[in-house]
Symmetry: C2
Subunit: 189 residues, 2 copies
DNA sequence: GTCTATATCGCGATAGAC
DNA sequence: GTCTATCGCGATATAGAC
């Protein structure tokens, strides 16, 4: 049993349930079944725990957004991708709930996050180029339009879950599907 | 000079700059130029200050969303409304940055917020009915489609600013206009 | 690697004088 | 209505034994 992982598991659960500000290192240690002192053996402070959780999220993204290069992606691929992304964002829901605050508190995290996000968005935009090339999107659509659509989709991807939470709706498969549908509508299919 | 207002002004500035968790009642008192004890004469605790700031936001919304009843609204009205909403949300940007967390911490605030938001969204949806009636939107569009469009626009209204911040872009008139344009595109004009 | 014990700090909140 | 003084608490982080 890896103590470091146990700490991160507990931290994730508690952050998701109560928020990073409310959860103390003592809470995390107790939930993980270790002493507060031991926690500080594995992590220098709470910020480092948060950064480690973000790295987990980045890894999950890597898996999701690494597309099969051998064939042209389809709209089904896009749907699957968005669904997988929703599920991952739900697993790490504390992150986007508090994102602006977390990034301001930690320059190191901010830099890393922007870097990862930028790469992700670029891959996402390329998807749309593929769609145009494959004729899924009308090829007459101008470049700026494609950018608009990609950005619109990205906005939905990132904020549909917070939107549901703010609306006091259950984040369940039905509402997630609605997010997917809204995105497909944005694309115009 | 109204001390209560001075406290709220200081709190708003500090919350926007640093986040509600980082800002203590002592900070607010110092910024407002009063003693910590005096702050507690006017407000029972920090949560009450936050609720008061949300009430200010609600009032601002009231002004924005109270439409002239005598004439049919136009797309220009919609644009103006969205711009005004962006500006207000920027003035109270701490609110949507931390919204999910703030609502979970305070049931009273949560109930009030959902009530105000629900009313706002209903008024917003009615706008779209007007548009259909006035022929700005194609009348053939189904009811569920209109709901989709309204929800899409609402999502943009609420999260375009956080989206900009997460993107590390300046929240300036140019980027705000882009939000408006994205919304008009969602409507299909 | 993990524990217990503890130092240090600062926040939220109250009491009581003016 | 405003101040100063202060209590009580709990959080972060470290020291040192095992």
């Amino acid at each position: 049993m890896d103590t470091k992982s146990a700490i991160l598991d507990s931290a994730l659960d508690l952050f998701n349930a109560q928020g990073t500000a409310e959860v103390t290192t003592n809470h995390i240690a107790r939930d993980a079944g270790i002493s507060p002192g031991n926690l500080y053996y594995h992590f220098r402070n709470k910020a480092e725990i948060i950064r480690a959780l973000f790295e987990r999220l980045f890894n999950a993204w890597d898996v999701i957004f690494t597309l099969d290069e051998v064939r042209q992606p389809t709209l089904d691929d896009l749907e699957r991708l968005v669904r997988a992304n929703f599920e991952t964002l739900w697993e790490y829901r504390f992150a986007y709930r508090e994102l602006v605050a977390l990034l301001r508190q930690d320059d190191q995290l901010k830099g890393r996050f922007l870097q990862v996000r930028e790469r992700g968005f670029q891959g996402f935009s390329e998807l749309f180029q593929h769609f145009m090339a494959a004729g899924v999107l009308p090829p007459t659509t101008g470049t700026s339009d494609v950018t608009d659509i990609a950005e619109m989709c990205w906005l939905i991807s990132e904020f549909w879950l917070p939107y549901l939470e703010v609306s006091d709706r259950e984040v369940d498969p039905v509402w997630l599907e609605r997010g997917v549908r809204l995105m497909l509508r944005a694309i115009g299919v």
